[in-house]
């Protein structure tokens, strides 16, 4: 039983990490109708900033804060310099333009930080384990990740659903022109949302850095999962992204944990491990395909989404 709880926690922490990335992506898409593939690069840059500043300041919290600020500023710069001209264009142009950014940032990182990866050490206070029983412990750091992820989710929910700014964001998400016509400063809202997305990507990069090792192309894997999540959850919906991230995280973790044992009932051990590896890695894509067939708008579409 404790193993099941542990594996569920593993799924939840992966889900919340993915949510931090997916939330920014879905907001930007929902509000600006803009497909931003370079969101994964912001995640990577966040991790590299974290690697640099945590080492430089010797403090995880201080270095982390600087990293998030830097990523947010970088987000504003990217938005102003490279993305704004692409706003009015079709999605294909946007995908191509931002894919170019992905390539640019991968090589930029190689130039600045070198081809090898970086590691970020954990602060002393986050290194330990919490014991829930004699045979059941869980790393403090991953519990902190879960807590921060939940706090951010709650904060985003309050911001979007309960504040005036959130009302404008939602208005802009359901009809950009109309929201502009009744007096909302759409460009400001866009820039703000983009900055918020960049900050979340930076936060995710910071939290991923000690777990994943900081490396070139680390944003690409996470971006694909984040794209799956926002499609499953419904484009532009933060609530959808949260629930879809939970679904994807749990399917991935529990699939990897229990699929081999299930398949061993019908297959030889070697075949079972091979098939389970393959199955659990495609499971979320099967889910994606089914959802696109049955509910093309996603499970929890943003209200008024076209």
């Amino acid at each position: 039983m404790s193993l099941f709880i542990e594996q569920t926690l593993n799924g939840v922490q992966l889900a919340l990490l993915l949510f931090l990335v997916a939330a920014g992506l879905t907001l930007v898409f929902g509000i600006m109708d803009f497909m931003n593939l370079s969101h994964g690069s912001l995640f990577m840059m966040g991790a590299y900033f974290a690697a640099t500043f945590v080492t430089l300041t010797g403090s995880f919290v201080l270095g982390g804060l600087i990293a998030i600020v830097c990523t947010t500023l970088l987000g504003f710069v990217i938005e102003a310099v490279w993305l704004r001209p692409l706003f009015g264009r079709g999605h294909l142009d946007q995908v191509l333009g931002t894919f170019g950014l992905v390539l640019f940032f991968n090589d930029f990182v190689r130039l600045v930080w070198g081809p090898g990866g970086r590691t970020v050490g954990l602060p002393q206070m986050l290194q330990g384990h919490v014991y829930f029983g004699p045979n059941f412990s869980y790393p403090v750091y991953r519990l902190v990740l879960i807590a921060v992820g939940l706090l951010v989710a709650a904060g985003l929910f309050l911001l979007v659903q309960r504040t005036k700014t959130g009302m404008i964001i939602r208005a802009a998400a359901s009809d950009r022109e109309m929201a502009g016509a009744i007096g909302a400063d759409i460009n400001r809202v866009s820039a703000m949302v983009f900055g918020l997305g960049a900050a979340l990507a930076g936060l995710a990069g910071l939290f991923a850095a000690p777990i994943l090792t900081v490396q070139i192309g680390m944003g690409d894997n996470i971006l694909i999962l984040a794209l799956v999540i926002i499609v499953i959850g419904g484009l532009g919906s933060v609530r959808g992204a949260f629930l879809a991230a939970l679904i994807v995280g749990l399917i991935d973790a529990l699939g990897r944990a229990y699929m081999p044992n299930l398949l061993r009932l019908i297959l030889s051990p070697v075949a079972a491990s091979t098939a389970a590896g393959a199955l659990s890695s495609v499971a979320i894509y099967i889910l994606l395909a089914v959802i696109l067939l049955v509910k093309p708008q996603g499970l929890f579409p943003a209200r008024g989404a076209r």
């Binding site: 590691t119 070139i216 192309g217 070697v270 590896g277």
Partner: protein, 389 residues
């Protein structure tokens, strides 16, 4: 008399004609030069180029022309660039090849073009056995061998219950099969993870914790290795359950892992402290030129370049005489950084395997030192299935 002179001149003319045509050797080099694992491809190229430096960029009087191609760790891309090297560049030899799946996809075009293909790293079981070829040579090892040495080391260290973790692709399965082949205890858990792209191993590590094995064995080459060891430490398993690895902790990942890897034990066919003049020169010059310790990746590629050079010298630069070239490759008449190097009938080396440990050198750099010799003159287990005798 005139006739003799004429024919003599003709021979001379022919001779110079051949020389004029083949006064250089073109070597195609396929490896991973982009993406997160580019540091492996670059390291292997560095080893190969250091050998060229030592050869003054000449092999048996021929100038060496290198053509590098990036496989992006994708079998289909590897095959495509290999075909490009063979057909449009018309290279004399193709080499490089870090990944087993890329090599397996690229071998056939080389064989069809009757061009020698020399692996600098990958050693899939197929090419040592049924699919062995007179056109294929390995400058490294067969995949199963290094983990087999590790399995034997585990027996020596009295490990009874082992948990096996490897990525789900050709080499991952060969490696796991290798450990299981020689390990005499019980394999209490076995997981094959998604490759490439799995970033979080918490699920697998939770299983390890619940099963409580005597030791864990992993194979995670390149960046994934640093990632895995780091997560193993964060899960509180480092120091609790001993971890052994193959191709995971090496000169490339050590600068990242640092003290996390101190004391880590693995097996390898080459260690930087192997004592012979060739190796001492290789390690010293590599460190001077690139400012870091060489890895087995660069060492094998250094050997690959020297192997090719030895065959060019032995055939007096007659690259068209393929049978003579093959016979010269089979002799492997060069000074290997491994000390000794000779070929088995399936064109895989017969060599020693060592246990090695991560230590700190006098300057505080992390590197490996040899602990013991696990196997002497080891042959891979597939050569009898190879039709070449």
């Amino acid at each position: 008399m005139l006739r003799y002179i004429a024919s003599g001149l003709a021979v001379l003319a022919l001779g110079t004609g051949v020389n004029a045509e083949t006064n250089k050797i073109k070597i195609g080099y396929v490896n991973t030069f982009s993406g997160p694992n580019a540091f492996i491809g670059n390291d292997e190229r560095d080893g190969f180029e250091l050998a060229l430096d030592h050869l003054n960029h000449k092999m048996g009087g021929l100038d060496v022309q290198m053509i590098y191609e990036d496989d992006q760790i994708k079998p289909e891309i590897g095959r495509q660039v290999t075909e490009k090297l063979l057909q449009s560049d018309k290279v004399d030899v193709v080499t490089g090849y870090n990944w087993s799946n890329v090599l397996l996809a690229s071998v056939k075009p080389a064989i069809d073009a009757k061009t020698f293909i020399i692996s600098g790293n990958a050693g899939p079981s197929q090419l040592a056995g049924e699919a062995c070829s007179p056109w294929f040579f390995s400058a490294s090892w067969q995949n199963d061998q290094t983990p087999m040495a590790l399995g034997e080391l585990l027996n020596q260290r009295n490990v009874k219950k082992l948990f096996v973790l490897a990525p789900n692709y050709a080499a991952g399965k060969d490696m796991a099969a290798g450990v299981k082949n020689t390990f005499k205890g019980e394999v209490v858990g076995e997981e094959y993870t998604r490759w490439p792209g799995q970033v979080d191993f918490s699920t697998e590590l939770s299983k390890v914790r619940s099963v409580k094995p005597d030791a864990v064995w992993v194979f995670y080459p390149g960046q994934a290795g640093a990632q895995f060891i780091q997560q193993y430490s964060q899960a509180g398993l480092l120091g609790q359950i001993p971890i052994y690895s193959s191709f995971t902790v090496d000169a490339l990942t050590l600068p990242q892992l640092k003290e996390l890897a101190l004391g880590h034990i693995s097996t390898q066919e080459w260690v930087q402290d192997i004592s012979n003049p060739t190796n001492q020169k290789f390690v010293a010059d590599f460190r001077k030129k690139y400012g870091r310790y060489p890895s087995y990746y660069s060492a094998q590629n250094y050997d690959a370049a020297m192997l090719i050079a030895s065959a060019v010298v032995a055939t007096n630069g007659k690259l068209d005489d393929k049978d003579a070239f093959r016979a010269a490759l089979e002799k492997a008449n060069f000074q290997s950084v491994r000390g000794k190097f000779r070929y088995n009938s399936n064109h895989f080396p017969i060599q020693d395997f060592y246990a090695q440990e991560v230590v700190k050198d006098a300057q505080g750099n992390y590197t490996m030192k040899t602990l013991s010799t696990v196997y002497t003159d080891m042959k891979d287990t597939f050569y009898q299935k190879c039709s070449m005798k």
